[in-house]
Amino acid sequence: MANKKNIVVEINPEIREALVEMGAVDAYKCYQCGKCASVCPWFQVGTYEFLVFRFPLETVLGLIASSEDKDDLAREVDKIYRCVGCEACVDQCPLGVKMPHILRSARRILVDFGSYPENLKSVVQKIRNVGNPLGEPREKRADWAEEIGVKDYSEEMEILYFACCLPSYDTRLKNVAKATAFLLKRAGVSFGILGAKESCCGEAIRRVGAESVYQETARSNIGNFKESGVKKVLVSSPHCYVTFQKEYPDLGGEFDAVHSTEFFWKCIEQGKILPKKSFGKKVVYHDPCTLGRQSGIYDAPRNILGSIPDLELLEVEDFSRNLSLCCGAGSGALWIDWPKGERMADIRIKQLVDTGADVIAVACPYCLQMFEETVKAMNLNVQVMDVSEILFESLGEDEVR
């Protein structure tokens, strides 16, 4: 056995303890069956090695982001920020190991020491400074609403509409906020917005690892919700949805969050909204990770689309519902630019377009943003729309005011 090499690994219990302290406790559960790796979007991308099943072991051994070599370390940090938090692995794991939490624990330590990508630093800075990742002024947050006469929220209203950042500021995504507001009006719901008092829900920066700025931002929202007497919050973004549902309660913010697709499907069922105009296009629905896998909302968006006259609803065979492939924007990845050939959106768009659809329907601002950009870059003849936009278009002429 002369040429058998010894593998000597320096184990760092200190790192393990630090990671576990930061939330990586699931690492102990994993027995490395490897099922996670087969559903990880990086496996489908295929050009970047991301052995997700190794993170728990590396955590237990204290080997995460441990290289003393500058370039190796840069690659390791890059890897830690490759996880998009889609939770395809969590969905498949026989033991329910929360892989993104393991990586997030490392991110938290790195963020505290400024050792994370500059693009993400800038996002954290802007959210702290002006409450949105785009660095846009607070005063402009409600511009989209002013244009169509949406009121400020007051206590007697039924619903607070929380558009969050992209639909508040981005020229394309403002249309989602506007469609949502029109639909709420159509359904006769009393609703308002918080305008300049609204801050980012904080989901992305929490997943980036910027825990203290997340908590500060979340507390500011919770304080404003309470002060305004908010009970029920309607959101367009599934990222806001999971944050309000599952994470704000830890900070004392108990509000009833509802995603627009759930709410509008109920409105259709109750006859408050009547989709009657023919849509006349083939539509494929993309399940956003955070709405589907992470929130279990698969049917409401499909039901809405199915209720629209002359809309042919298509599915991506094999990669639908809980097996939907991530657009690649979660956990801060929206602001990271991976090299060409290593982009999840490119793969997912191909799957979606191959169905023969004219329109890709999404129910998440991140997916919309990613797919719009990808469709443009690839010069594809396909439209990307939010479910709320499609529903709005299907209202009869007499109903659109």
Binding site: N12, E14, I15, A18, L19, G62, I64, A65, S66, S67, E68, K70, L73, A74, E76, V77, A106, I109, L110, D112, F113, G114, S115, Y116, K121, S122, V124, Q125, K126, R128, N129, V130, G135, P137, V213
Partner: protein
């Protein structure tokens, strides 16, 4: 080589909204994030690269309030061996000159081959600390340094001049180098290094340790938002309308 890096913790204002506070002499800081001054990150990396090559130690020094210790800890995690904070809260109003004077009081008792500073800080934009410190310590300096290459006794130094020109100098050590941004790729800190840094002691020096009278060269009287200059004619309308008008303007100038 024994190296010293001077580091400043500054508010990150490049992409932020900045407002004057009620005193009229400072900005509102509670919505800003703070980090190591950009040029200082390159200064630190330049020192770490030299230490990797020649061995030795790096001492990081920062004049700042208690939060500056977070920034010093980052320096420790990236490769500094020891860290010193000079308590800014003990010394009143500061400018580049007084900062250098206080740094000098600490550095004069430390053996060093080279001192690295950023060429300027983004908060007060002085370009002073490096050269003033060098003068006070009686050692040569170079500013806007884009390269420091040490071999034998000679040090090859490049300075970045206007117009893309480089000034190539030969210097001897000890010396002070005020480093320009973009000259290397600042590294991340590894989790192991972060853990080690977390346990390290940061030496804190205050008025009683530095019993000298230092004065600023200047006193800040007021802060105000810069007046707008000649404003551009802002073209308004949809992207298409604006594009059509702009194309028209370009054509008028004979450029199409």
């Amino acid at each position: 080589m024994d190296l010293i890096v001077c580091i400043k913790r500054v508010p990150q204002t490049a992409e932020a909204e900045v407002r004057v506070d009620s005193s009229g002499k400072d900005i509102v800081k509670d919505r800003l994030t703070f980090d190591m001054n950009e040029a200082d990150t390159y200064a630190l990396e330049a020192a770490i690269l030299l230490k990797e090559k020649f061995g030795g130690t790096i001492t990081a020094i920062s004049l700042g309030v208690a939060d500056a210790e977070d920034t010093l800890r980052i320096a420790l995690a990236k490769g500094a061996d020891s860290a010193v904070r000079i308590k800014a809260e003990d010394f009143g109003e500061l400018d580049g000159f007084k900062t250098a004077a206080l740094l000098k009081e600490v550095i004069k008792d430390i053996k060093f081959d080279a001192i690295f500073t950023g060429c300027m800080a983004t908060d007060d934009s002085y370009y002073q600390v490096g050269p003033v410190l060098a003068e006070m310590l009686g050692v040569p300096h170079a500013t806007l340094v884009s390269k420091v290459e040490v071999s034998e006794e000679k040090v090859r130094v490049n300075r970045e001049l206007e117009g893309g020109l480089i000034e190539h100098l030969e210097m001897s050590l000890p010396a002070v180098f005020a480093v320009q941004t973009g000259i290397n790729e600042p590294r991340y800190a590894s989790l192991i290094a972060i853990r080690r840094a977390a346990g390290k002691e940061i030496k804190i020096l205050g008025k009683e340790d530095i019993p000298v009278e230092t004065k600023t060269n200047s006193t800040l009287e007021e802060l105000f938002v810069p007046p707008v200059g000649k404003r551009a004619e802002i073209l308004t309308g949809s992207a298409d309308e604006v594009a059509a008008r702009t194309a028209g303007i370009i054509k008028e100038k004979g450029l199409i």
